[in-house]
């Protein structure tokens, strides 16, 4: 492929947002080059461990000890990482980043076409105006240039296409969407809901809203409840780039997908104020090449897109491209995560389940809601996910004493029902929570990204409240063996990543305008988590998708009008 081959648009990254950008732009008639740093994974044939029974896995799926320590020191800490999914995750040894002393950061990344859309948690929630107005109201960060009404139609557009199962609840802080029938709660979850809502009438317990189909949608089949989604799903029951956006983009005939293509930096014409090229490294050969197009969408993930911009340095902009505000790389946010409590739920002995439901309960934010006079010592709020299941033989075996026929018989029955309340807290935007380029480079000579991200007083106070409320709600639900989990996870563990190239009204204090368009380069759009001005407490992917679709529509209009 030569440089002269012309594309209308280049999309960097084929994950959740890159897939959406590619779909929207190709469907509107643009010739799109989709660049992905990772190797190709084909829908269906690429899911090599789907439905694989444990006895067919090497070492029964036990982690590969030496390999994990050597090559996946970070990634192996990710939930769901294991033999059945490790081929999707990035090799940490070959792709290092910098964690300064005392500032550990888990940067969980994939290295494949489809990105983290293959392995994501699939929970999808709308932001509300509680979120979009938060910065303006309490003065942290910069005001969002958009409000709920600006994005609401795009939420619907995305939900109808990806398929979301869930229940309408009529809550202002968690707007309802376009839902397929919700998944069922199990017997313990029903009791938990009833007891918690009785004790706390202002709280709501609902089944997770997930991008997993309960009814067929187009060519995609409904969930068959096998359980381990992250191995890949041949019927396409959960949303991934492979199952959904890439087929749609391919169908237009306008898509060129190029895997193994790491974007190093962007070329910028200072006179014309335009991005004029995308510099790509072939990860198999190390060969460098430049591609050109009229418009560029960065969708490489919050930190990777920020890294590309920071590394797009020139004499005119030594601190990175689109950084006239000096805010590039700053205001990084990740959800405050890991605090909560576990317990067992007595009274359900003998109750069991059929099928593996890839979903949890969700307990929407109930702190500092609109119109409330806050008596709390922190601003913003948090929500909970809750996993509830009977403890299986694999975790229960060591609590059954003895050996022999009696032990075997005792282990035939499942253990007690386990419940896990897990908080997801909003993290405030702080200027000095940032990513910067390190002098040290990776194997391609690209400067490594250095993370300087910590939680602060507001997050710690919120964490204390999360802990208190988890314990109290479990007590109200009649749980036993309540085990508080007071320690937050290392920043990044939630994989809910925000900021670095935030949106704002004022070019002097933000990187992007209200259409995800760079103030400094009108033909550059950044629509992944980097664009976020605040983090809400809800899972972010739906908002990233809606912003991407919205920005793609705007970009095409601007192109047609000759404005960019």
């Amino acid at each position: 492929m030569s440089e002269s081959q012309q594309f209308d648009a280049i999309v960097v990254g084929s994950g959740i947002t890159g897939g959406w950008a590619a779909k929207e732009l190709t469907e509107k008639g643009l010739k799109v080059l989709l660049l992905e740093r990772g190797k190709d994974v084909q829908h269906r044939s690429g899911y090599t461990t789907e439905h694989m029974p444990p006895w067919e896995m090497p070492d029964r799926g036990l982690f590969e000890r030496d390999v994990y320590d050597r090559d996946y020191a970070v990634q192996s800490r990710a939930r769901g990482f294991g033999y059945a999914t490790q081929h999707y995750w990035i090799n940490d040894r070959e792709n290092p980043y910098v964690q300064p002393p005392g500032m550990p950061f888990n940067w969980f990344r994939t290295d494949v076409v489809g990105g983290r859309s293959l392995v994501w948690g699939r929970h999808v929630y709308r932001f509300s105006d509680l979120d979009f107005e938060a910065n303006k109201k309490d003065g942290h960060g910069v005001d969002w240039p958009i409000r709920y009404r600006d994005i609401a139609p795009w939420y619907s557009h995305v939900e109808k296409f990806i398929g979301v199962s869930g229940k309408a609840e009529g809550l202002a802080q968690l707007p309802d969407g376009e839902f397929q029938p919700p998944m069922a709660m199990n017997v313990v979850e029903q009791a938990f809901k009833q007891r918690v809502e009785t004790k706390y009438p202002e709280r709501r317990v609902t089944i997770g809203r997930v991008a997993v189909l309960t009814e067929p949608l187009g060519d995609r089949g409904a969930c068959h409840y096998c359980g381990p989604c992250a191995r890949g799903c041949s019927v396409g029951a959960y949303f991934s780039s492979q199952s959904s956006t890439l087929p749609a983009a391919t169908k237009t005939g306008n898509l060129t997908l190029r895997p193994d293509s790491l974007v190093e930096s962007l070329e910028y014409d200072h006179q014309k104020r335009r991005v004029t090229g995308v510099r790509v490294i072939d990860t198999r050969t190390g060969a460098r090449q430049k591609y050109t197009a009229r418009v560029v969408f960065l969708c490489a993930s919050a930190f990777a897109s920020t890294q590309v911009l920071l590394n797009s340095r020139s004499e005119q902009h030594p601190e990175g491209l689109a950084n006239s505000s000096g805010t590039l790389g700053r205001y990084i946010m990740v959800h405050y995560h890991g605090v909560g409590a576990t317990a067992t739920m007595p009274g359900f002995e003998g109750k069991y389940f059929y099928g593996n439901r890839p979903n949890t309960l969700y307990l929407p934010r109930f702190r500092n809601l609109a119109g409330e006079e806050s008596k709390l010592d922190f601003t913003r709020g948090y929500g909970f996910q809750s996993n509830t299941f009977p403890i299986a033989w694999s975790s229960y075996w060591h609590r059954v004493p003895g050996f022999g026929a009696e032990f075997k018989q005792a282990l035939r029955k499942p253990g007690p029902w386990f419940i896990f309340l897990e908080g997801f807290g909003e993290c405030l935007p702080y200027a000095d929570n940032r990513v910067v380029l390190e002098r040290a480079t990776d194997r391609f000579g690209v400067p490594q990204l250095r993370f300087e991200v910590t939680f602060r007083e507001n997050e710690r106070r919120m964490g204390a409240d999360i802990l208190r409320e988890s314990v109290d709600m479990l007590k109200a639900a009649g749980a036993s063996n309540i085990n508080p989990l007071p320690e937050p996870a290392i920043p990044g563990t939630s994989i809910h990543e925000y900021g670095g190239a935030r949106m704002g009204n004022d070019p002097r204090e933000s990187v992007l305008n209200g259409h995800n368009q760079a103030h400094d380069a009108p033909n550059l759009f950044i629509t992944d988590g980097a664009c976020m001005s605040s983090s809400s407490c809800v899972n972010p992917s739906l908002t990233f998708m809606a912003l991407t679709a919205r920005a793609a529509g705007y970009a095409v209009d601007q192109l047609k009008a000759g404005a960019i």
Partner: protein, 170 residues
Amino acid sequence: MNRRTLLQILALAASGVLHAKPAASKLDEKQQKILAELAELILPRTDTPGAIDAGVPAFIDHIVSDWYTPTERAIFVEGLRVVAAADPGQRVGALQSLEQQAASYVPPPGTSVFGKPDERSPFFFKLKLLTVLGYYTSEVGSTTELAFNPVPGRYDGNVDFATLGKQWTS
């Protein structure tokens, strides 16, 4: 199980009716024999197949030889040596006493057969873990002692366990 049955099962195992992939064994013959006896004592053949039927001894041998760290291997081999030194007619007693010695051991929270193991856990804990892991993840164990259903097709979160009588494989 009496000693004769055990010997019959051992003979069966030796004849190659094993479901696990045969591994290059680094335990010697005597260690292998004791390991098979112990695994079968932990999960014996009952109305469902036992550890030997499920190829557990070969699996454990492989894990101990090829996957364990030197620390873990040393603890495991020493455990086998202690059992070997005791009266062969008193294997149950030897195992009971090893269990008692391990009784004060508190495994780290969230301990599962699949997680990163505690290197310094006592021999009995290691042996029981590997026997359970090897058995319940084998094809024999997964399809007899457990219920294997890779594509359930629907979800019901309120089922009486008695109607199934077995746990799912996952």
